[in-house]
Amino acid sequence: MRMALFGLLVGLVFAAGCEKQTAVIPAEGKAAAPAHGDTILMGTIGDASTLLPVLAADSASGDINGLVYNGLVRYDKDLKMEGELAESWEISPDNLTFTFHLRKGVTWHDGAPFTSADVLFTYHLYIDPKTPTAYSERYKQVDTAEAPDPHTFRVTYKKPLATALISWGFSIHPKHLLDGKDITTSPLGQAPIGTGPYKFVEWLRGEKIVLEANPNYFEGEPYIKRVVYRIIPDPSTMFLELQAGGLDYMGLTPLQYGRQTQTPEFERQFRKYRYPAFAYTYLGYNMRRPYFQDKRVRQALSYAIDKQEIIDGVLLGLGQEATGPFKPGTWPHNPDVVRYGYDPAKAKALLAEAGWKDSDGDGILDKDGEPFRFTIATNQGNDQRTKSGEIIQRRLREVGIDVKLRGIEWASFLKEFINPGNFDATIMGWTIPIDPDGYDVWHSSKTKPGELNFINFKNAEVDQLLESGRRTFDQEERRRIYFRIQEIMAEEQPYTFLFVPDALPVVAARFRGVEPAPGGIMHNFIKWYVPASEQKYAR
């Protein structure tokens, strides 16, 4: 019996060994010039939920929808606004009316022409109360929307809104396929039809999603013929797949980037990239707690925490200190704010000034007989946050603060702790949107249960700056506003801003034309190519 099994095993190994040769037919050799063809295999942790952008809320769906659909505008590689489906646009002098001139000759993947009626339909789809979308708010401020001719679309706002323009970067949906139908049961959720560079081919649930280059794409046919998103839920497996050649693109962890990809073999087969991610991790203080209401205490905690130590320990140095809620190197980021270097003596002095002294000699600071003890809550399963917490715990103990760590399952963490404001301090992260409007996170009106200013930060000047920031269109003027906000935050330390991690994507070396830019590496994806002689998949 066991012999038979072994025989079967050997047979299968052998058979499959030959299999690889037939499945992968090397293409005919030519010079390393841009050539059409080949397939890129991308790894994704989670399966997509729906391929209708209006309903999708997860990143896997977002990645695919980004290749299948277009918006009117988008950010270019330098994070400046450029036209996509809109050739150009005008903004009225009062900043209230936006007129978009649409590209002519654009067609949907099914051949139907794209017109301003599709844009108008998409707008109505978003604001329809029957559409279960989380994105309706951004269009609620629109006063009127009209399509005066097939290639013009015009919206008027009640009040000027700085984020109005980029809100039209959202995917435009095809009217002729969705009009008058129930959006939640539309077949487009399973098989999307857009105007984008890639057409949908097939979706095997939990296994893969296949896209194919759109030969009629208005910016030219993409070089890479096929994009296959392979769903591989485990990061370790994904990394093994990459090494075995079963993936061409994935995001590495700091450990993989720093320790497991140094072999000459790996360097020959792959190109690694590294640039700051649009995200930061922070320690947020709940200001409903009396001991966090004194800003000297918050400043002291920031001095007591060694941020560089966290970056070295948790990210293996693959990240940088955060000084505020913006990404270093982008226009809203103020590089000159007060920094909180590691300085335990200063931390102790500030705490003493605020009345925290170790009067009973137990090593823990106390004030009015109450020892300085609090709990840092974070979500379970996020290794970087847990480790940061452990490092912070030790450093705070050194200045006499007793910290407990608590990891809680995500849904319970939000429902029981964050939303009702029922926590002392928390380690969490935010993504950094390209537009600096941080109204929802920092304005004092956003402190109700479930809103994002859950630390209860209230500062009248910040409120006023946030309000004018989102109504101002001039970038220089906005820069001044957000620079001032960062100065106040550096002084107030509502969060101890910990770090901005690096994004660490890796791409198989046969792909050329990859061009790192402030916007990442995916901005020119349709220009990536594999020289004909190196193409791996013939079909």
């Binding site: 037939t22 989380a134 994105y135 095997l204 497996t237 849904a411």
Partner: protein, 324 residues
């Protein structure tokens, strides 16, 4: 016999009702709701939007009303539509995951039985021999080895370094272009590591059951009788002892019927296999109530049916029970 069967089937109904009520209440007690994925930490999600989404999903009804509605649909064999963004029928989601889950489970139970039953019998008949000791150590090693660890080691060793096996998934890229026989080979090639890993941990249970049952039976008087009347040892063991020793194994097999559709999250995650375990886990994480309930109901029905089948098989194998 028929009356017995009807009675057993009838008794299942209140049991099933109780199971569904308890699970329905329990999953709704867990903090978080299906709409959270869209609204949590989303700067654009206003409180009013959250309320609107809740009412669209019918989450603003009292819990018992929700249960009543769900039960009403279930009575018409309608499992409802999933609360995840795709809003597809729950049954469809389950059915597309079933074949691969059942395939892997049947294969691995097959491998387990094929190896562990002979192993158990041999260990019992050669009790305390070198063979017995070595297999004992081996099967317990398998039992104690974490499957994710073994899987990653095998993937790294046999997959990445030696290139013998594919790492994850069930099909090669370009599977669609292969002939059906090549497709079958490709699938089998992808299945070897997963089936091996899932079977390896299961050897201990069955081989130990088999061994202890066998030891128990060998001590019985009728085995002594069989030996006394001069039967060959072969006949004693395989004709007289084995049939009796297999009885408890049947029970365990019956109990593993629901296990056929239940996958393991860890295992499926490591091998990137879209099976039931991952479906259920993701459903729970997203609080996709209709999907969770659908899988629980099917699991409950199969458990009850599996029990019944085990009892029936018992009766078939053992005339004493048939008469009583």
């Amino acid at each position: 016999m028929l009356r017995y069967l009807a009675k057993r089937l009838l008794m299942m109904l209140p049991l099933l009702l109780g199971i569904t009520l308890i699970s329905f209440v329990v999953i709704h007690l867990a903090p978080g709701e299906p709409t959270d994925m869209q609204t949590d930490l989303n700067p654009e999600a206003s409180i009013e939007l959250k309320e609107r989404l809740r009412s669209q999903y019918g989450l603003d009804d009292p819990l018992l009303v929700q249960y009543g509605k769900w039960l009403g649909r279930l009575a018409r064999l309608d499992f409802g539509t999933s609360f995840s963004q795709d809003r597809r029928p729950v049954l469809q989601k389950i059915v597309e995951r079933l074949p691969i889950t059942i395939l892997i489970n049947v294969l691995s139970i097959g491998v387990i039985l094929a190896i562990s039953l002979p192993l158990g019998i041999l260990s019992a008949t050669r009790r305390n021999s070198g063979f017995d000791r070595i297999t004992t150590v081996l099967v317990f090693l398998g039992f104690a080895t974490p499957s994710f660890w073994l899987a990653l080691l095998l993937m790294d060793g046999l997959g990445v370094r030696m290139g013998l096996f594919p790492i994850a998934g069930l099909k090669s890229i370009g599977y669609e272009y292969l002939s059906w026989s090549r497709q079958l080979l490709d699938l089998a090639h992808h299945l070897i590591l997963p089936v091996f890993v899932s079977a390896f941990g299961g050897l201990a249970g069955f081989s130990r059951y088999m061994r202890s049952n066998m030891l128990e039976v060998i001590r019985q008087d009728y085995i002594l009788t069989a030996r006394a009347k001069g039967l060959a040892e072969r006949a004693v063991i395989y004709r007289h002892a084995l049939r009796n020793a297999l009885l408890p194994v049947i029970t365990i097999l019956g109990l593993s019927v629901p296990g056929l559709i239940g996958g393991s999250v860890i295992f499926e995650t490591i091998f990137a296999i879209p099976g039931m375990g991952k479906l259920f886990y993701d459903g729970v994480m997203m609080r996709d109530y209709p999907l969770i309930m659908g899988i629980l109901v099917i699991g409950a029905v199969l458990t009850l049916v599996g029990n019944l089948l085990a009892d029936l098989c018992y009766a078939l194998a053992d005339p004493r029970i048939r008469k009583a």
